[in-house]
């Protein structure tokens, strides 16, 4: 590697690729995985994507959007809750989509926005986290993992990626929660919600959240917040998948259908 750096006086990759493919290269520090997409010369990815969705009558592709995800910190760690509805425009693809990626036993990533983008890029992140562990013999911190994701996405700025993700975990600095999105925002905080139903989830979370919640109270709050968002937002629904990140790793708390939750809360209110 060092010798290559010294000898490299010209970008030999650009010369060797056939048809003069333009390399919008974002070097992510790992030679092993190829995260660089070669795009044909003269094609701007985002305008190309727009033509697919605007075409009247002919081919009209609508990419998966619509979600509610949330995560908050409290005295016993981090609670993560997501819905599981996957939509393409008006059509519901599936009610049982996994919107939480288990990166390693201490790290979780949530997904909102375009399903394909999220699934791909968070798996690339998981790859990098694994390589980090192999190289450094310790788990990657939440801060570093979120920065890796953020820098990867920053390279594709303006090209039409749609990712709103929260990286949640527990590392040597304690519980960690970061929000990362496709325009390069990376925020550390105590409470975030993303997706089309995020405002409804914020409403319930903010009014019920305290740092000193007990564990059952925290589970209830997270579940209620997602449930209320699925009730009001057409693009969220299915089931509520809930995880709890503790010091010794995350556990999957529950998976409950929102229809059953509706009956449960309706009964309680009466």
């Amino acid at each position: 590697m060092a010798l290559l750096d010294i000898c490299r006086h010209q970008d030999w990759k650009a010369i060797l690729t056939p048809f003069g493919a333009q390399n919008f290269s974002v070097s992510c520090g790992s030679e092993v995985s190829c995260d660089e997409f070669k795009v044909p010369v003269g094609v701007d990815p985002s305008t190309f994507m727009n033509t697919l969705s605007e075409n009247d009558g002919k081919l009209k592709l609508q990419f998966n959007h619509g979600t509610t995800t949330l995560a908050f910190k409290f005295q016993h760690g981090v609670i993560v809750a997501v819905d599981s509805r996957c939509t393409a425009g008006k059509y519901i693809d599936t009610q049982y989509f996994k919107k939480v990626i288990e990166i390693n036993p201490y790290l979780l990533g949530t997904m909102s926005g375009s399903a394909a983008d999220c699934v791909y890029w968070e798996r690339v992140l998981a790859q990098h986290c694994r390589i980090y562990k192999l190289r450094n013999k310790e788990e990657i911190t939440v801060s570093a993992a979120s920065k890796l994701l953020s820098n990867m996405l920053a390279g594709y700025r303006g090209m039409g990626l749609s990712i709103g993700s929260m990286i949640c975990g527990w590392d040597k600095k304690g519980p960690g929660l970061y929000y990362v999105d496709e325009n390069g925002t990376r925020l550390s905080g105590n409470m975030f919600s993303t997706g089309s139903g995020h405002s409804y989830a914020y409403g319930v979370m903010d009014s019920g959240h305290r740092y000193d919640l007990t564990i059952p109270e925290a589970y209830d709050l997270a579940q209620r917040a997602i449930y209320h968002a699925t009730h009001r937002d057409a693009y969220s629904g299915g089931t509520v998948n809930m995880y709890h990140v503790k010091q010794d790793g995350w556990i999957k708390v529950s998976q409950e259908d929102v229809g059953e939750l509706y009956q449960k809360y309706l009964f309680k209110r009466k």
């Binding site: 953020s150 996405l153 920053a154 303006g158 390069g184 925002t185 990376r186 925020l187 905080g189 405002s199």
Partner: protein, 202 residues
Amino acid sequence: MEYLIGIQGPDFVLVAADTVAASSIIQMKHDYDKMFKLSEKILLLCVGEAGDTVQFAEYIQKNVQLYKMRNGYELSPDAAANFTRKNLADYLRSRTPYHVNLLLAGYDDHDGPALYYMDYLSSLAKAPFAAHGYGAFLTLSILDRYYKPELTREEAVELLKKCVDELNKRFILNLPAFNVRLIDKHGIKDLEKLPLATTSTS
């Protein structure tokens, strides 16, 4: 939405920024720091498009630090400001321009305090006082009216409070808190956050 302000005195620069990180109608973070420390006596205040701010500011920050590592001494505020402007200008007509508005504040041991105003079109101006954001429309006239070049630190903080009071009174958006820092020959110092917790503004 976002607000930056800087006031230069005879031997100091006072800077303040709001602490809200917003995404459309939601305040995602209430305690977000928009100031980036370039060196012991230089601060870069950066607002603008979501990811661009952090990416650009950190890029400048790391390059200024690299200069110090390579050469053994730090860039002066004037040099750092011009370096920043050059980078902004180079990216302006590229595929990915950075939409960021900046204030660069610093203290040079030879030339004294300096405040630079930069905008997303990469214009650069050295100014005795400056502001960015919608709040600037309300506060620049206050700065014009009450600023004097030989103002003391206390007078500068009072002037800053006048500006913040005006925003609380007339600005349609809620800016609940501001980070305030002072740069002088001793370095960068954190001052009390505004508005003060005890006082209430109607």
